[in-house]
Symmetry: D2
Subunit: 380 residues, 4 copies
């Protein structure tokens, strides 16, 4: 059997240039739907068991975030359950993966994928909790269901919003939500129980279903970068934001968390709202308190590395967390998880992965609760 590269499955994305022999597999990233972004890849290699394979992604240097390839190692899996890192090099132009698969069929990806089937299973499982209501917000561009979980009593005084995966290639964002939900719905978890005494949570585990299934890095089916659509979302090209923005105006918001992945920085960190006009000292104190609580809750979260404050200065209200922070004057953060690893605690085998993302999601309940505790005192 000769070598075969394929990607016709959920989130699959690659272009095959040539597969003459195992040592000369040449590939290209392909662009997001109706857009010029490109970086996500996910494909299957067959026919190379026990062969020393060299897979070259020729156009890696033209990716959206070339710095993402510095120190990066691709993930691989035989069964799509267990993912591990493989040798990867970047010479400024070409990304070269070297791996000798021990099975007939092996998958390579930019990061551990999170499929639409798993998404639907997550909703199905969560729905059994008496605390959970599943709400449909509307249709995506391709016609998929855009769902939200409402957790707890909607009459609760405080409203917490968590949205994830506006950028669909950042699958770690949905792994984090899965970990957070599993902890939140565990009746023996005392932090979860306290949170649900104080607040209702609105959770959108996947803001970009179409981009996720299509294997995009940053856009939806219409080519829109959803995290630049919050000022003027449209039903035609960014209905995902349109519906969520409307809903948040309907419910109000006391804490907003938008979960992302960062291609470059090998750390977990947040970007806050301190650049917003009219951001008060009180808001700064609250934001800092949240961040400090998170540091205490998980050594995987840190504050040393992150974005410069001015990163998004222009048109900043196009971004979800800035928009919400501005309108609701609440703590509003973008949480960034790494594609690479947490350089403070690197793991040679798996790097940063779905499991560690899920644990960070569980740990995030602690700063959420402490935020609610402080806010409760304040509002009394």
């Amino acid at each position: 059997m000769s070598i075969k590269i394929s990607s016709h499955f959920d989130a699959g994305a690659i272009e095959v240039v040539s597969t003459a022999q195992p040592s000369q597999i040449n590939l290209n990233l392909r662009k997001d739907s109706n857009a010029d972004f490109m970086q996500w890849f996910y494909f299957r290699l067959q026919g190379a068991r026990d062969e020393a394979c060299t897979l070259r992604i020729l156009n890696a240097g033209a990716a959206t975030y070339p710095s993402g390839w510095e120190g990066y190692r691709a993930v691989a899996s035989y069964d799509r359950e267990e993912w591990f890192r493989v040798d990867t090099e970047y010479d400024g132009k070409v990304l070269t993966i070297k791996h000798t698969p021990t099975e007939d069929s092996v998958y390579y990806a930019y990061f551990e994928p999170y499929s639409w089937e798993r998404h639907l299973s997550l909703l199905g499982r969560a729905a059994y909790s008496p605390q959970v209501r599943i709400e449909d917000l509307g249709n995506t561009v391709d016609g998929r269901d855009l769902n939200m979980l409402v957790i707890g009593d909607e009459a609760a005084e405080q409203k917490v919003w968590v949205i994830a995966r506006q950028h669909p290639g950042e699958s770690m964002a949905e792994w984090l939500v899965e970990g957070m939900l599993d902890a939140l719905l565990d009746v023996a978890n005392p932090i979860a129980r306290k949170i649900l005494q104080k607040a209702v949570l609105y959770v959108v585990p996947n803001m970009n279903p179409d981009g996720s299934v299509r294997g995009n890095l940053r856009t939806n089916a219409a080519g829109a970068n959803l995290n630049r659509e919050w000022m003027t979302p449209s039903l035609e090209t960014s209905p995902e934001v349109f519906y969520v923005k409307n809903k948040i105006h309907e419910t109000g918001c006391d804490l907003f968390l938008d979960i992302h992945g960062d291609e470059g920085l090998p750390y977990n960190f947040v970007a806050g709202s301190e650049m917003l006009q009219g951001f008060t000292e009180q808001q700064m104190a609250e934001q800092n308190a949240f961040v400090q609580s998170f540091v205490a809750a998980s050594p995987d979260f840190q504050t040393k590395f992150g974005y410069p404050t001015d990163k998004y200065y222009e048109d900043v209200l196009k971004l979800a967390s800035k928009y919400v922070g501005h309108h609701f004057k609440c703590t509003s953060l973008t949480l960034e998880l790494p594609f690479k690893d947490n350089a403070d605690m690197p793991d040679d085998v798996v790097g940063w992965d779905g499991d560690r993302s899920a644990k960070l999601g569980e740990a995030m309940l602690q700063p959420i609760l402490q935020h609610l505790n402080r806010n409760q005192v304040k509002t009394k």
Copy 2:
């Protein structure tokens, strides 16, 4: 939240006519890709928790097998793991499902689905066995991988072929294969161990990937009914048969099993090759012996109900099992599982389902082994 019907997911298929209120949900079956068959449905209902829903499939009477609706009950699930039967009536024209869902989101289907993600996971899991080789046979019309498992030593004297799901809506066929594979690869299973001492197995768990994902009943993406393509398969419209037929001519065949579902009969049964020209008494004895062994192995399998021998008299060699039986003069059977239930041992809660299909697949190893034992003696 108002009522919503959606089907944009793996194997989803329905047309919405109107959803004015829970008691008046009107739907239509939709046709297979490029073909006139229609019977499979799979959709999600949101927004009707605790509402007494009446879902009417208006064009059920025009389905391919209207007799399939006699005594039929639809399956439903909240989490797509646990499927159960719901009240269903057929008046000769309209199929009416009555159900009060207890969750915000519920799925209804013709039969417990088997997704492409699960298919890939099955391959991934099986591949870890040192007995298994995964082979790619080529691309489907839509460009998916058509995979085969080769189990055991290819130098073995006897060759057993098992193919499933030529008709993609017959998902029970792949459930059966999953059960068979799990048993076959269990090192503590003595029947499996004996089989692998005597034979190599060629197993195609899903002959029709495109039709499966598209939610077709009987055809592939090009509209071809694969089980009528065995005389003259084409690379353009029935590559799935083209590749498998070639491979079987390459390997030879001593036992052929083609797994199907039958819309009408509430029984498990086989259709044999006795109508073939030149079918010998020896072949008849072998076929009967296989069938009797299967009866002994599983009370879910029976011989009283089945097809009349002349069902496929014309152009019979277009069918997989007839074609193979004719060319290789081996025992060659079509195994039919019910969509409804096994009327000999009905289960009010789940009817016939994936789990019972899987158990039948495990039980099928016993007649396979006994066939190999007899054949071994004969060929010595």
Copy 3:
């Protein structure tokens, strides 16, 4: 840390002679409670990680069945879940185990143990089935509960009895029962469902609780070999048989299966009742039919190797299966499982073990059902 041998846990049994160094660990078998039998051992070794250990059982030649050591390999485990075989030699006097443990703590045993805690869990799990009633038959000598499962409708015409582990060191007998019960209570298992339409089963998973916990090979706490007590059991020294014998006279019996392990023969086989006075041709035919059904159901069961018919000629009615066969004129068999392996299908890693025993228990449902089918016809 120096070397330590300990056995103060469920079924633990050994005597320490000396433990000067890893290469010179000298041990003795210890006798059953109040009896001279000895062969079972089960102990823990600590302090020898990565050391090449030589464990010598000095008095092995004086064991009850010295032939049991021919071709025998001891089992070992680090976690008491996964058991594997280790190098073992027998020179006619001393049994020598050579093993280099890779953990600080390792267990060695004659066969994979089945603890009293697991026994109670098995009862607890089975009890949830609506088909099951747990009945207490009385107290053992030490005061433990002697329990029976009644499975199915007690008004059923046919009564099937299965008892196991009269000889407590034959733990494979209870593994077999666990496998049989799990299959029997699986609502998707068609053989189980058919059986429960025709018969009620009386199952005693452990006839000898005290001997099991004490780590005996053959006797109860009072030193009685229960399978020699069926003529005149006593409340004082063999209450376990006393209670079960009374119960069987109360219920009647149409099929009796007594599960044992055999120290010497590396095969699964049955000993029948053909030596009984008045044993009819009809009984012989029924017994043979059962045996042939069993052969078809599992290649791990065979008829070539077994006991000579006259093995128990004298006082034969002291044995459970002979006693019952004589009194109830029904098919009554002793099923023997190996301590060593099934030489027809040896497994280098685990030999014969709990998992394979459980699978044989599942397979045994098939001859049981076919016996019931034949018997049903006969009694009509």
Copy 4:
């Protein structure tokens, strides 16, 4: 079948007075081995399915902690996996349990038990971690192995000691240790990874194996209350303390945690070392910091309710945590878990249980890490 009460199994403990009928089951607590303590009970009831049972523990008023019965509800289980609370009343003399079991066999206990078999399985599972060494410290009075887990690099600068279940009836203490160990050995847990970069842990999951198996509340087999033996433990009557005390003097200690259950208070809390002579302000600050970190980590832990500081003034150095705090001048705490429930977050179904204890053990890693971080800075 008539009513039967039995307790001949791991940790079983009760005396039967009379069992005339389900509504009149009279029982007595029995004393610890060689001691006058009594409070623990654990027994099985058979023969009362669907009967409204009234079980009266006649001598409850003479128990060691009669206040333990105020607001207390007994736990029950059918399978010894799922435990739930049942109606229980205390009139100052008699403890009355009212329950209608829905199965033939049901167990009642003072608290969810933790068996010796589970203890050995916990050790076996943990041992697979490359971070873990299992060390045998010596024999208990009855001859069981007293084991310690050494986790991490013994050359680490900081030494953390965790011991549990000096009082064997306080089974929640070992549930806590199980939760802590599972988290500690999870390679994806960032707190665990940080801890193991800084410290080695010495963990004794069960200080009192004999008392645990015998079903004692407070003493070992010799009748010794181990938490009063730390001044002058003896090889004859308190070898468990003798060995652990010696080992701790060998390793040193920077943080000591002794896990207990409290019969009366429905809260989780710690008792500190502030009553010790020479206890410094620095020590007070460290102890307070640990406690505050724990409060942040788990809402199940609190500081409002606890013991008065002078509770153990006399002979205080007989207690483990006081002895260690005094000798090593380190933070040294007794952690108390409730038998009843956490009154801050009561759970009607299970009360306080093994699962919640395990979660508290996982949460405890956070104050441990923060203690290590502070201590590290201090010692630099």
